[in-house]
């Protein structure tokens, strides 16, 4: 396949970025999208030019590191698939492909296609945990959890923290990400003691980081590679209202 690539280049956080055009020949349909970029990068290095910097690691769709906006869609055209698992057979010979970083005010670009998503870590640090020190646990079977609730908690916990939901949202809202964590713990008995405090602190941090609010557009769910459902946003809203009204602190 022969492709025309338009790729976002940006020297660093302070400089201005631009789209750079590249022609790439000999792309095999068996390549993953990132392997296609590897090929381009090897060519660029041989030409003495700086390769395109992009984030990636496991390349099997679970670590959440890869973060490309492909033709305007975070992770690209294939549903429920991270861009590391996207393969070139989804494209045609002669295609033009536009590649940009995940964009949001709270995700400043560091270089080329790499953006800084540490805001998500800070939201977890604010309350995305159950406070149990090592060796404080009781026997694992002491608290039964109904299968339905455990399965639902797992649906929420499947979030890989990639931030595609935020990049897709016109408001750059991180509600799906936060809601997934809030709901996972709200569904489990172990999460009850800190249930109110957790949702209040995580939402507070989310605002401080500069993420927008949800206006029910559902772009987040549409691009989520793990198909985390917007129903968790509804659950978080209920959790938040309940906690806000009955704030005991």
């Amino acid at each position: 396949m022969k492709l025309t690539l338009y790729i976002w280049r940006q020297k660093n956080a302070k400089s201005k970025g631009f789209m750079e055009k590249h022609q790439l020949d000999g792309v095999s349909e068996d390549m993953s999208f990132l392997e296609m970029l590897d090929v381009l990068n090897e060519q660029l290095i041989h030409e003495g030019k700086e390769p395109v910097a992009f984030d990636h690691d496991c390349r099997e769709g679970i670590c959440g590191t890869c973060s490309l906006t492909i033709n305007g869609t975070p992770h690209g055209p294939e549903a429920a698939t991270t861009c590391c698992q996207l393969h070139m057979r989804k494209f045609k010979d002669g295609d033009s492909i536009y590649i940009e970083p995940f964009r949001a005010k709270a995700f400043p670009v560091i270089k080329d296609l790499i953006s800084d998503r540490s805001a998500l870590d800070r939201i977890i640090q604010a309350g995305g945990f159950i406070s149990v020190n090592t060796n404080q646990a009781q026997d694992a079977n002491a608290l039964p959890v109904s299968k339905e609730k455990a399965d639902l908690a797992m649906d929420a916990a499947a979030c890989i923290g990639c931030g595609a939901c935020i990049a897709a949202c016109p408001n750059a809202s991180s509600m799906l990400f936060v809601a997934a964590k809030v709901s996972q713990f709200a569904l489990l008995p172990q999460g009850q003691p800190e249930r109110k405090r957790r949702v209040l602190s995580m939402v507070e941090q989310m605002h401080q980081e500069g993420f927008g609010a949800c206006t029910n557009i559902y772009e987040c769910e549409a691009v989520c590679p793990k198909q985390v459902s917007v129903r968790f946003i509804a659950q978080m809203n209920r959790e938040y209202m309940g906690a806000y009204m009955k704030n005991e602190e």
Binding site: N12, S28, E29, D30, M31, S32, L34, E35, V39, N41, E42, I45, H46, G48, D55, H56, D57, C58, R59, E60, G61, I62, C63, G64, T65, Q85, H87, R89, I110, K111, R117, L120, D121, I124, Q125, A126, G128, F129, V132, N133, T134, N135, A137, Q138, D139, A140, P144, V145, S146, K147, A150, D151, A153, M154, A157, A158, Q184, L188, Q190, G191
Partner: protein
Amino acid sequence: MLDAKIPSGPIQDKWDKHRFELKLVNAANKRKYKVLVVGTGLAGASAAASLAELGYVVEAFTYNDSPRRAHSISAQGGINAAKNYTNDGDSIWRLFYDTLKGGDFRAREANVYRLAQLSNNIIDQCVAQGVPFAREYGGLLANRSFGGAQVSRTFYARGQTGQQLLLGAYSALSRAVGKKQVKMHTRKEMLDLVVIDGKARGIVTRDLVSGKIESHWGDAVILATGGYGNIFFLSTNALACNVTSIYRAYKKGAYFANPCFTQIHPTCIPVSGDHQSKLTLMSESLRNDGRIWVPKNKGDKRPPNEIPEEERDYYLERKYPSYGNLSPRDISSRSAKEVCDDGRGVSSTGYGVYLDFEDAIKRLGQKEIEARYGNLFEMYERIIGEDPYTTPMMIYPASHYTMGGLWVDYNLMSTIPGLHVLGEANFSDHGANRLGASALMQGLADGYFVIPYTIGDYFARNSFDKIDEEHEEFKKVEKAETEKINKMLSIKGKKTPTEFHRELGKVMWENCGMGRNESGLKKALELVPQIREEFWQNLTITGEADDLNIVLEKALRVADFLEFAEIMLWDALERKESCGGHFREEYQYPDGEAKRDDENFAHVAVWEYTGQENKPKRHIESLVFENVELAVRSYK
């Protein structure tokens, strides 16, 4: 001279007795000690969180943008524990025995027993953290079976157990970071260890965004930096996984144990071309219903559905009639290589075998197969673009895990005082072959339940001079690293770091992969230094040192792989027996079974660095088996 510090007494009392004998650090004094934790996967994150909870000052380092990205996240199957919730006869003793036998009797009894004991605490801890393990309708935890065991003792969270356990440890770590008990350094890669007055006292890192070389001092250093499976270039590891931290520690005096013990997993998606950057693992469970075969005739290029039954060779069923397609990992992997080397492999490269579900679909119906393996079939289709319900899957073995690692004693301390090594980065618990669902168990046991006790003993028994980053030793290492980087940038040759890595990987895979022999290993020992020499003469790196530079990052990692490769080869050459993942072709029974040599090799091979130009020195730690009888593995 190698003192493993294994406590005396009956095996089931050793850890209790040892914990009593370990010296303690008073609660108010813990904040006077600073621990550096390198790597934030299961072992590193759990250690950092647990030590912070105790009151130590902790700094943690990862080269990823977040601790949640560590490669522990990719583990699929599950985590073993001796809970015996299924009432099927499991016990700590049985988990201990299965793990030791699975490792082909090349691990330490005392360590493995402790691991089995701690397995139960891990499950308790993870459930309390909110890890959504699979449950039965009654609300209690579900279990499944896994290879190498006859009991159901594996706890799981769908096919994402590693992810859920890592996120549990990450949440504990995040809580500590939020409380300012842990200082988290992201996008910082360790370049070297700093040893002062014989003790590990710090590390030098490179900030992957600014390129800045920085020093960090501590009173102890913990390496939890994973394995070196990427030495083969293609592996199931994440792309950034590398050997640098443990290799640099080795060069500073930490001994390296059993480097040739690497695990090759039989069911991975085969290579499709030169562009390939990694290999994806498909759960071993597929072998329960899939039948593995290749054409009987060499060079048979017909599509699989046109090859009649009598022209197919179901080689595992033929060679191992009682275990068939469920033969153990090492045997299945080697057999696949044999038939492909014989010219009967499939896929565009000739290095693949079929895993065929046609009979299973006929027997059970497509619906049942979908229920059992639906997500795996989907993943396969996404990568290969073929529907495995109608066309047989293609699989091939790939490098997956490394049992070898830095030598540690019972306290998880290396031969450098103060340098502790956890998880896949150490060598201690899996012998020559790791059983499925045991990697997660070991990483978390080391981090949550071993190091918090043993590190206190180290602090209590030693005194520490006050130092900081201005110490001359830090300046010396910073200077050496800066010079090395400048040297790399100044070569301006013609080959990229990836090209050198691919070349090294090919040599290692062909000569030190699934099958090894004396002449191949000796040939590789000649080839590796040649590649290394060319690397330092013909490398090209674009960009600057003081910038985010992905080419330089890669070059620094490849440079260490190019040196480390030789210890692996020496170890494979001098271990003149076949055991677990180490198969020396000269040492096999006439039927192709691995021939272990307990008389001469029931020991850990421990390598000491003796200078760049010299062959490393081989020491041994004899393995003493007081509680089990060494048995021959047979799967006929």
